[in-house]
Symmetry: C2
Subunit: 331 residues, 2 copies
C-alpha cells in the first residue's frame, strides 16, 4: 500500500484504541437467504447499531478527541445532512465541550430532533441554494469554533475506518468490501484498513445513480462537481467528493457501482422483512448494490457496511409503499 | 434447582450442541438510551435475528432432530399461530423430512407465505371457533405424522432454552431475565438454564394484559383457561399454559408482568427508532415491560429476550400510526 497517503493504517489503529469502550463494537450479521440471492457469503457490518445510529460517530469522536484543550474550551462546529450532526453533537457532549451544528432545513425530522437532544445548538440552511461549506466555515470563524468536517479530515477518516477494521477482525480475509459513498470518508478509511490487512481485497463503492460524483471523478482522474442530486439517499446527496478522501480513493478504490432509488428501497424492505434491521436509504445502498446485481462478478466472501439506520417510521413506510406502487404498475 | 423437573440443564446443553452451526448465535445488543430510561443495564438477546425470525427454530429443530429414522420417513406436523410453523417447516427441510402445518386463517400474511416458502403443506383453521390442539392431533394421527408441539414438549423447551444459555454465556451473571410468555416454553427453558447457572437470578415473564393465562395460573397454583385473548401479540394469544412448561414455571418463575397493546406498540417504535431493530408485537413485550416500568424494582443488570421479528411493514406502520393517534387523543 502507498505510504504517502494522508491516512495511515497506524492512524486507524490509534483511532480504534481511542474509540474502545466509547463506540459500540457493532455486530456482523449473516443471512442464508441473502447469501443465496447474492450467490456469495455476505457479512453485514451493522453500523446502524452504532451510537447515533450511524458510523459517523466514529469519525467525529476521533476528531474531537484530538483537539487541544484550548480548542475544546471554545467548542466545535459541524455541517451535515444529518448523521454527522448527531455524531458531532454527541462527541462534543462526551468530551465535555459544546457544539453548533449547521443542518439543511429539510433534513429528516428525527435527525434534527436527535441532534438537539444531544445538547447542540442547530442552525439551518437551504441545501438547494446555499453552500454549506462556506456557511460552516464562516460560522466557525465568527465564533472561534473548531470545525469538524463530515469527511474531509484525516482524523475523521481514520475514525470511520474502524468500522471496516472491526469487520475484518471478525470475518478474517474477504474477497471484497462494499461501502456506501457520500463524501468518500468511510470508503477512504475502509480501503486504508482493508488493503493494509489484505492487499488483494477489492474495495467497491456504491453511490445513488443521481449522485455519482465520486464515480465520475474517479473515471476522469480529478474531482468533478455535479448538480445537487435529488435522491432518497440524503446522506449521499453530495455534489463533489471530499478532497482528502478523493486523494485516497483514487489510489485504493477499485470500482464504484450505482444503484437506483427503487433498488435502495427494495433493499430497505429486504432488511426489514428478512434481516429484521432498520436501514436508512444511504445505509442500505451497499446492500442494494449486492441485491440488484450491481457488483460485478461477486466474489466468494463479501463484506458490506450497512452504514446507518436513522429514518422515521412514517418516511420508511411511505418509501416502501411508493416502491410497491411502482412495481405493481411496472410488472 | 429441583432435579425432578421434565427438562434438565443437561438437556439444554445437549440441545446447544445439536444446534451449533445450525441455529444462529444471535447478538446481544445494548443501548445507553435504553439503560437510562430503565435505570439499569439492559442486554437484549436478539432472537428476531434467529433463522425464521424467531426463537422457535431452536425448539423445533431440537425436537425434529431427536425423532427416529422411521418417524422422519413419515414426516412431521405442527400447529402454530405463526413462528413455530415456519420453524417446524424449516427444521423438517433441514433434516430431510416433510411438514404439514396447521395455521390460523388470520395469521399474518408474511408468516403464511414464509411457511409455504420452506416447502411445508399448510392447512388453515379458525382460531376463534376451532380447537387447534384437537385438530393438530387428528391431523397427525390421520397421516401418521410426528406432531411437533409449539411448546408442550421437553425437547422443544430444551431447544428454546438455548437462547437464554447463550445470552448468559455472553453477559455473565445477571440479576434478572425478562422473557415473553405465550405457551410458556421459552420461559420454562430460559428459567431452567438461568437458574442452573445463577441460582439467585430473578426470572420474570411478560404477558399481554388480555392474555394473562400464565399469570392467573401461577397465582392459583393450577392451569386456568381464559377466553381467546384479543391482543396484537398474536404469538401470546393463548388460552391456557402448556402442561409441561407450567410444571416448570410454577417452580422456577418468580413473577409475571402484564403489558398493554399500546405499551407493546411503543416498544416496537422504540426498537425501530432507537435500536434499529424490527420486533413483532410478541417479540417486543419483554422490552415493553421494561420501558413501561412493569418490572418491579428493576435490578442492576437485566437480560431481556426479544423473541421475534416477523411483522409485515404495512402492519407495523398501521400499528404505530394507530398508537400515535391514541396518544395524541389521550395526552
Amino acid at each position: 500500500m502507498p505510504a504517502d497517503l494522508p491516512v495511515t493504517f497506524d492512524d486507524v489503529r490509534e483511532a480504534a484504541v481511542r474509540l474502545q469502550g466509547i463506540a459500540h463494537r457493532t455486530p456482523v450479521l449473516t443471512s442464508r437467504t441473502l447469501n443465496s440471492l447474492v450467490g456469495a457469503e455476505v457479512f453485514i457490518k451493522c453500523e446502524n447499531f452504532q451510537r447515533v445510529g450511524a458510523f459517523k460517530f466514529r469519525g467525529a469522536y476521533n476528531a474531537v478527541a484530538q483537539l487541544t484543550a484550548g480548542q475544546r474550551a471554545k467548542g466545535v462546529a459541524a455541517y451535515s445532512s444529518g448523521n454527522h450532526a448527531q455524531a458531532t453533537a454527541l462527541a462534543a457532549r462526551e468530551l465535555g465541550t459544546t457544539a453548533v451544528i449547521l443542518m439543511p432545513e429539510d433534513a429528516p425530522r428525527s435527525k434534527l430532533a436527535a441532534t438537539a437532544g444531544y445538547g447542540a445548538e442547530i442552525v439551518t440552511y437551504d441545501r438547494y441554494t446555499q453552500d454549506r461549506t462556506a456557511l460552516g466555515e464562516a460560522l466557525a470563524a465568527d465564533r472561534g469554533l473548531a470545525l469538524i468536517p463530515p469527511y474531509d479530515h484525516p482524523h475523521v477518516i481514520a475514525g470511520q475506518a474502524t468500522a471496516a477494521l472491526e469487520l475484518l477482525e471478525d470475518t478474517g480475509e474477504l474477497d471484497a468490501l462494499v461501502v456506501p459513498v457520500g463524501g468518500g470518508g468511510l470508503i477512504a478509511g475502509s480501503a486504508t484498513a482493508a488493503k493494509a490487512l489484505y492487499p488483494r481485497i477489492r474495495v467497491v463503492g456504491v453511490e445513488p445513480e443521481a449522485g455519482d460524483d465520486t464515480k465520475r471523478s474517479l473515471e476522469s482522474g480529478e474531482r468533478v462537481s455535479i448538480p445537487v442530486p435529488r435522491t432518497i439517499a440524503d446522506g449521499q446527496a453530495l455534489t463533489t467528493p471530499g478532497e482528502i478522501p478523493f486523494a485516497i480513493n483514487r489510489r485504493l478504490v477499485d470500482a464504484v457501482s450505482l444503484v437506483s432509488d427503487e433498488e435502495i428501497v427494495r433493499a430497505m424492505r429486504f432488511a426489514f422483512e428478512r434481516l429484521k434491521i432498520v436501514l436508512e436509504p444511504s445505509g442500505a445502498s451497499g446492500l442494494a448494490a449486492l441485491l440488484a446485481g450491481r457488483v460485478e462478478n461477486p466474489p466468494r466472501r463479501i463484506g458490506v457496511i450497512a452504514s446507518g439506520g436513522n429514518v422515521d417510521i412514517e418516511r420508511f413506510a411511505d418509501l416502501v409503499r411508493a416502491e410497491e406502487g411502482e412495481s405493481v404498475r411496472g410488472d
